[in-house]
């Protein structure tokens, strides 16, 4: 593993002291840079090296599995298929994350195709950070595709962050929720320069008393452009909530298009959306505490994205 990969791992995951505590699979420039299974979490390569299957045993508690992917040079187009098979009643944390580094005018990309099969009454906390680093104008792209199948009573909480430096990103997430299943997604996206980011969610609540809570917070700076589309479908007695808040800085632009579909009389679906610049009164308040305009704006944006 090279030094750039190590620095990317620190940015996108809990990489510290050159070790992960638990099961892990480190992907570097399309290959495997390290893998470890534990008694309860088995990581097996798919045929052809195009990804991995992660098997989490029934009832596994308080364990973490790390699956970061890093690209440390230009001219890499990485496509990987990762499937998570989470056993019934498990309660685990999955730390993903992707960093793309280029130092010239050539780009690199990472496409992670993830499928989650979360068993009955299992709980998963999924944490994912994306970052681009390096000099030069090469395009750094990260385009994750995620599908979530939640069995009865399963809970999947996804916290995803696009930190900075990612020039192009299309994030596609789909999900199907059975009875009492719950999907919670908190995403935050920062775009700068002429970066582009698109988020596309489609979640189908088919089971009674299933619930989805989707919160997206984004900041579009400079000339960057973001698109947000969510479709929440309630096909039984269920609760769906989505909230899309965006802050514009400079010439940033955001197009938000939320969609709700209620196919059952007892489906309760709510959407909230707000797009605008940093509120002037917020800047004023922080200035009365002694912050400059720039410090106040940075603090407001940092808080907004990290909430």
């Amino acid at each position: 593993m090279d030094k750039i990969t190590e620095s990317l791992l620190k940015l996108v995951s809990d990489w510290d002291d050159d070790v992960y505590n638990g099961a892990y699979n480190i992907r570097e420039n399309g290959g495997c840079a390290g893998r470890q299974s534990t008694d309860n979490i088995k990581i097996e390569p798919k045929e052809g090296g195009k990804g991995i299957d992660i098997y989490i045993k029934e009832g596994t508690k308080d364990e973490k599995v790390y699956i970061p992917a890093c690209i440390s040079k230009s001219n890499v187009e990485d496509l990987v298929y990762n499937d998570f098979h989470v056993g019934e009643n498990a309660d685990v944390t999955i730390v993903a994350g992707c960093g793309v580094h280029t130092d010239d005018e050539e780009g690199s990309s990472h496409n992670g195709i993830h499928r989650f099969f979360v068993g009955k009454n299992a709980r998963v906390l999924y944490e994912e950070k994306h970052v681009g680093t390096g000099e030069g104008g090469g395009k750094r792209s990260i385009d994750p595709v995620t599908d979530c199948q939640l069995e009865e009573g399963a809970v999947l909480e996804m916290n995803t962050q696009q930190l900075s430096g990612v020039d192009h990103s299309i994030r596609t997430t789909t999900g199907k929720l059975e009875k009492n299943a719950k999907l919670i997604i908190h995403e935050s996206i920062l775009t700068e320069g002429d970066q582009y980011a698109k988020t596309d969610f489609e979640v189908d609540m088919v089971g009674e008393d299933s619930a989805v809570d989707l919160i997206s917070r984004s900041v579009a700076k400079d000339d960057s452009y973001q698109e947000y589309h969510s479709k929440i479908k309630g096909e039984s007695r269920c609760i769906g909530h989505s909230e899309c808040d965006a802050i514009l800085v400079g010439n940033g632009k955001v197009n938000a298009a939320p969609e709700l579909f209620a196919g059952d009389l007892d489906a309760s679906l709510i959407h909230e959306a707000a797009i605008g610049k940093v509120a002037g009164e917020q800047i004023l308040k922080l200035k009365t505490l002694g912050l400059s305009d720039e410090e106040a704006e940075k603090r407001i944006i940092d808080g907004f994205l990290n909430a």
Partner: protein
């Protein structure tokens, strides 16, 4: 000493709101600024804090002219201001705001002491976002705490601190002001109509129609105000009569 001399301010539409305010405030004393709605009290607070820039006059704090300084500079010179309408933030917690106000990390015990002064339990609030989930009264108390937390404050300016606060918390707030009065270096200004605050004021300034109508020691001014309740409601009317 905070000295205001002929302070004037016009709103964006050109309306003259402050028409030449003059008064001096000594440290170690509580000054309550009162007057009818629309008389210019909040505008005065904004002009002192720099949220609005005076169009004319002088605001001098301990020999330093503030009139041309912006909000940040005034804050760094020791002007602390609690808004009448507190601001809400997504993603900034009560702890964040208190630490920004103090300018450093704050110890749990200090947060607890501060929050109890405004009638809030630290454990219930410290990690909550200062957002729409807080009631008007809760956010008002947090706003006051951000001023009490200021380490460098020479002037503490509270705009209607009693608004939205329940009686139990208000009692605590009155005690907090009485405690602050003991700091002989602190210039304490409260904009209020609240009788209990007027009662503990060392000095009272009555503003009406953008001017100081009457000002003086609390024990002289308050009886005048109480003699004729209409004077509290509308000193302009009193004068015209």
């Amino acid at each position: 000493m905070l000295c205001l001399n002929n302070v004037k301010w016009k709103a964006e539409d050109g309306a003259e709101i402050l028409k030449g305010i003059d008064f001096e405030i000594e440290p170690g004393k509580l000054t309550v600024v009162t007057g009818p709605n629309g008389s210019g009290k909040t505008s005065l607070a904004k002009v002192i804090s720099g949220v609005e820039q005076a169009t004319e006059g002088s605001i001098n704090l301990d020999g330093v002219e503030l009139i041309d300084k912006d909000i940040t500079e005034r804050a760094r010179l020791g002007v602390a201001y609690a808004f009448q309408q507190p601001v809400r933030f997504k993603g900034i917690t009560v702890r964040d705001l208190i630490e920004l106000a103090q300018g450093s990390k704050i110890e749990e015990v200090d947060v607890c002491s501060l929050m109890s002064k405004v009638g809030l339990c630290t454990n219930d609030y410290i990690d909550r976002e200062v957002n729409d989930s807080l009631s008007g009264g809760e956010i008002k108390r947090i706003e006051i705490a951000t001023v009490l937390a200021r380490n460098n404050a020479k002037v503490m300016l509270f705009d209607e601190p009693e608004a939205g606060i329940d009686l139990w918390s208000f009692n605590g707030l009155v005690e907090a002001f009485q405690e602050l009065k003991k700091n002989k270096d602190m210039i304490l200004i409260v904009i209020s109509h609240q009788e209990r605050l007027l009662e503990i004021a060392d000095n009272i300034v009555v503003i009406a129609d953008g001017k100081v109508r009457i000002a003086g020691p609390g024990d002289e001014i308050l009886p005048q105000l109480m003699q004729d309740e209409k004077a509290v409601a509308c000193p302009v009317e009193k004068e015209n009569n």
